[in-house]
């Protein structure tokens, strides 16, 4: 093949890896790439973001729903450091993204060149791997390895840093046929002995639960999980990132557990005699106080990452491998067991502690808005959320049947994720309905991207759950800091006018009867819409496991003695 510049090689490699969409923002050092990009349109479409953090989040949202590696570009120095939050988010949630950053020329590296930052050094702890490329001949191999590492095993972010002179250097493009990484061979196939042991535990169990996580979605094990649940007759509890990995309206689906999970789930986990943790990592938001977690349960851990096995809990059987393969193997050996007492007990817990009920109030409650969104969409849409109360309410009130339709920042808990991630989701799924449920705080962290959304005509529907507070933090002040509400009230802009300033339709609901019409109008509108729902400012989120408490200490809904409780779940 003919000689090409390093910049051309980068783009050529992206095309070969199947990249179609790039989110980025150019700068001095990355100009060689941007000089070439127009030649590759429409094979490659570049979306200009307004802040690099959003390029990383958009690539993250894109990767989660497209089933492909997300790609973002940033220039050297501040461009690259702005990616850091987005990279950390993808790292915590195992999302495959490749970040291409430009660096100052090699002669300036380490000499405090203008717009220099040691981005490979900075991102070591938050990338699966990163590369500093010092010779253009390495680019094809590095790009190939970057995509391979990002997308295989437990996925994660990979960063490739390219000095400007390397991007301008000419060399022959040699595409490696295979990837050879001595120290990287993810194990996909479980040990048959462990499979047999696990099946025996399942067939013997009286009070089993499946805890299914993000790994089910990543490995696309939807069918296999459903087969396990139905064949062995075991209820499925989905972690925050596991939501939409199992049909929400399936009779065996119990919803979310953990800090703000359903009361019945936390009790069921606490009382279970077997937990099948499938593609999840027993995060502290799930387990509560670890030493009192599920005291009577034996654990089967289905997990691709060896470093997760035994980290928080000691499994009785470990299926180390790809969740889909592990479940396929396991399903061959499990039997149907009735367990009438166990199901009756869970039903009784649900009846006695309904967890998701919306009481009759004169004010507009945030839960009410989210419930109406669920009713209006039937859950047949992509839902992207930020982080905080609105996120938990969305997780509680949406029961998705559509696989992989809930996109949220789990591990890192990144406020502001909701706006850029929705861009990535919409870019991956044009023509599909995308609702971004936002907090008023988080929205303002990334709302500059409304300009990007207007530019590319993405018809994203934003629902800002505006309680004029950093709501979750206010709730903690209320519950654990003597209601010393400080630095959490927000003096918000007029979100409707704000949307209009970006050329986007803005709608507002302040009363209950306005909610449904606003949602309907938003969905009937062809373009993007920002809906502001002004809700009760001091509504707390329940159920709740206080930090450091055990699941058995879950606080269910308070009695609200002065208000009539309407059970709707």
């Amino acid at each position: 093949m003919a000689e090409m510049t390093g910049a051309q090689m980068v783009i050529e490699a992206l095309v070969r890896e199947g990249t179609e969409h790039i989110f980025g923002l150019p700068g001095g050092a990355s100009l060689p790439i941007y000089d070439q990009l127009p030649n590759y349109y429409p094979k490659l479409t570049h979306y200009l973001v307004k802040h690099e953090q959003c390029a990383a989040h958009a690539a993250d949202g894109y990767a989660r729903v497209a089933g492909k590696v997300g790609v973002c570009f940033a220039t050297s120095g501040p461009g690259a450091t702005n990616l850091v939050t987005g990279i950390a988010n993808a790292w915590m949630d195992s999302v495959p993204i490749v970040c291409v950053t430009a660096a100052v020329i090699t002669a300036l590296i380490g000499r405090d060149g203008f717009q220099e930052a040691d981005i490979t050094g900075i991102t070591i702890p938050i990338t699966k791997h990163n590369f500093l490329v010092l010779n253009a001949t390495e680019i094809p191999r590095v790009m190939r390895e970057a995509f391979h590492v990002a997308s295989t095993g437990r996925p994660g972010p990979v960063l490739v840093d390219l000095p400007r002179d390397v991007l301008q250097q000419k060399a022959e493009f040699v595409w490696p046929e295979t990837v050879e990484l001595k120290g990287y061979r993810p194990r996909l196939y479980p040990d048959p002995e462990e499979v047999a042991k696990a099946a025996e535990l399942i067939n013997e169990a009286q009070r089993p639960v499946i805890l299914s996580g993000h790994g089910i979605i990543i490995s696309q094990a939807f069918q296999e999980l459903r087969e396990l649940a139905e064949k062995a007759n075991i209820p499925v509890i989905t972690t925050l990132l596991g939501i939409s990995g199992f049909p929400g309206t399936h009779p065996l689906c119990l919803g979310m557990p953990g800090m703000h999970g359903m009361y019945w789930n936390n009790m069921a986990i606490h009382e279970s005699d077997l937990i099948i943790g499938a593609g999840m990592r027993f995060d502290d938001r799930i387990t509560g106080r670890l030493k009192d977690f599920a005291p009577n349960a034996r654990i089967i851990h289905i997990e691709i990452d060896p470093a997760e096995v035994g980290k928080n809990v000691r499994p009785a059987a470990t299926l180390q491998g790809d969740a889909r393969i592990c479940l396929r193997e396991l399903n061959k050996h499990v039997q149907f067991v009735e367990r009438p007492d166990w199901f009756a007990h869970i039903d009784e817990l649900k009846r006695a502690h309904p967890s998701i009920t919306i009481r009759e109030t004169p004010e507009l409650l945030p839960q009410y808005v989210i419930k109406k969104l669920y009713e209006a969409t039937g859950g047949d849409c992509y839902v992207v959320t930020g982080v905080g109360q609105h996120q938990m309410w969305a997780a509680q009130y949406f029961w998705f049947d559509k696989p992989n339709s809930f996109v949220t920042s789990g591990g890192l808990g990144t406020m502001g994720y909701e706006v850029p991630a929705a861009m990535g989701v919409q870019a991956a799924k044009p023509g599909e309905l995308v609702w971004s449920i936002c907090g008023d705080g988080g929205f303002q962290m990334t709302m500059q991207e409304l300009a990007t959304i207007a530019e590319y005509g993405w018809p994203i529907k934003f629902a800002i759950i505006n309680n004029s507070h950093l709501g979750m933090v206010r709730q903690w002040q209320n519950m654990f800091y003597h209601n010393n509400v400080f630095a959490t009230p927000l003096r918000n802009p007029d979100f409707v006018k704000l949307a209009e300033a970006f050329g986007i339709l803005g709608l507002r609901a302040t009363r209950k009867e306005e909610v449904e019409p606003v949602i309907r109008q938003a969905m009937e509108h062809d373009g993007a819409v920002v809906c502001e729902f002004q809700v009760k400012p001091d509504e707390n989120l329940y159920p709740m496991v206080p930090a450091g408490a055990s699941l058995a200490e879950t606080i269910d809904l308070p009695a609200y003695e002065d208000e009539r409780v309407e059970v709707t779940a």
Partner: protein
């Protein structure tokens, strides 16, 4: 229990790719947990392109977790905590001691007893080289304290399993035939 009290020394050996930044990646994992790397030795292994490292880390029982995380690093081919295994370990020290006609013989006597070696003699100093396990080196240095030690330099520990056992076996996982054609996630082009 105080965290410091529960710290234990772990001897860990790793086979890694010989590339810039590898050491940074590995040490970053220990730093994140606040574990101190007490000593470190790196050199070429029997395979070109691969280096073998021995490091001694002060860590809690969580060392196992960190070892697993280090093993995940792309450039780490294999890693193993050999603290509980039967190993041979060696360190080397060089000691520059003040020595003149009056006490030189006493030092030479000590050097002979320990099987150490004098590698440099000056008019008023000598440099002694000693190799051995940590205990031997510690006791040699303790005895030298009767003299004036000008400078002490110790290498990190190197360790190897006893017998014919291989420290870093390269296991190949056979792909079961029934998965031929299995499409891994994110493989869509």
């Amino acid at each position: 229990m105080n965290r410091r009290d529960s710290l234990q020394k772990h001897t860990i050996i790793a086979l890694v790719e010989d590339r810039p930044g590898v050491l940074n990646r590995i040490s970053s994992k220990w730093r994140q947990r606040g574990f101190n790397i007490e000593s470190l030795a790196v050199g070429h292994s029997e395979t070109p392109g691969l280096s073998r490292m021995t490091f001694v880390v002060d860590a809690t029982t969580d060392a196992e977790q960190v070892v697993k995380q280090v093993d995940k690093l792309i450039e780490v081919v294999n890693i193993r905590d050999v603290s509980a295994e039967s190993i041979i370990s060696r360190e080397m020290a060089m000691v520059k001691v003040q020595a003149d006609r009056s006490n030189r013989n006493q030092i030479i006597e000590l050097v002979d007893i320990f099987g150490a070696e004098i590698v440099d003699v000056g008019p008023d100093s000598i440099i002694v080289e000693i190799t051995g396990d940590e205990e031997k080196i510690e006791s040699f240095i303790a005895l030298l304290e009767d003299f004036e030690v000008i400078e002490l330099l110790r290498t990190g520990r190197v360790a190897m399993l006893r017998g014919s056992a291989i420290s870093h076996p390269q296991e190949e996982q056979e792909e079961p035939e029934r998965y031929a054609g299995f499409e891994p996630p994110y493989s869509a082009k």
